[in-house]
């Protein structure tokens, strides 16, 4: 048992986990969509730092490039295009009656409790004793998971065609309310 065991990577892990959780909470509680998008970018970057800290640099980089880069740019673009600034007073209180959410809510909390029980049961090893290098991941992707790559490419193709088809249709005049 070492006396002084301060490991910088652990500190990085916990700090960036806290940042990710807090900024995600900010995402779902903002009123303006653009503020939420900015907090979501912060959350994704924090999760990328978490991945770097446990020794998965490839996924961390992909997280920044694809999530924080491509997907969030798409989101921000749509938010700017639609300019959904004015959110009305929502009738959420009226819709969220206890009879509506009590059953599913109880069941969900039961599942959450089970998850907590599982995670506190016993110690099951550490993450990040080493680093899984890009080379290993790449060899695995283009080795035994090649069929998955083909399926993912088909999915992306379907996504592109679907988005194009949905965007191409005859435009109704956009009412500015």
């Amino acid at each position: 048992m070492p006396v002084i065991d301060w490991e910088p990577m652990e500190t990085v892990f916990y700090l960036s986990s806290a940042i990710a959780l807090v900024s995600t909470a900010m995402v779902i509680s903002r009123i303006h969509a653009m503020h939420a998008a900015l907090y979501l970018i912060v959350s994704l970057l924090a999760a990328a730092v978490v991945m770097f800290s446990v020794g998965a640099p490839f996924t961390g980089a992909l997280e920044i490039i694809v999530y924080a880069g491509a997907i969030m740019v798409l989101m921000v673009f749509v938010i700017m295009l639609l300019n959904v600034n004015r959110e009305k007073k929502n009738p959420e209180r009226k819709w969220l009656r206890p009879t509506a959410w009590l059953g599913p809510g109880m069941l969900s909390f039961l599942l959450l409790g089970l998850l907590g029980l599982l995670l506190t049961e016993k110690h099951s090893g550490n993450v990040g004793q080493g680093e899984v290098e890009v080379k290993q991941v790449a060899a695995s992707i283009f080795g035994i998971y090649l069929i998955g790559v083909e399926l993912a490419s088909m999915l992306l193709m379907a996504g592109v065609v679907g988005a194009f088809h949905l965007g191409l249709k005859k435009r109704e005049p956009i009412s500015t309310e």
Partner: protein
């Protein structure tokens, strides 16, 4: 390298997933619902990466790449649908759209 217990990584992804789920449940603005769906997918991918780093195998990271592809396709289609929805009804409120 770090010696963070696997549970803490799983707690992080569980927390992110719960927050995303809450967002889907309580928000009525369609953009927030889509963002929360992204958060949930991302939390699942994070759990894959944590498991990958626990056993020092690349398979979990491969799964994360696939989750990433699914998230990208989902975002593209969902945002295109969002544009159509806004063009049709002029609102992104799921309650007014549902009427």
């Amino acid at each position: 390298m770090s010696s963070v217990p696997l549970e803490h990584g799983l707690w992080l992804s569980a927390g992110l997933f719960v927050l995303g789920f809450l967002g889907v449940m309580i928000r009525r603005n369609m953009i927030f619902v889509i963002m929360s769906l992204e958060i949930m997918l991302h939390a699942a991918g994070l759990a894959f990466v944590m498991a990958s780093m626990r056993w020092q195998q690349p398979d979990g990271q491969v799964m994360f790449v696939f989750v990433l592809a699914v998230a990208a396709a989902e975002a593209a289609v969902a945002l295109a649908l969002l544009m159509r929805l806004f063009g049709r009804s002029g609102s992104l409120d799921t309650d007014t759209v549902g009427k």
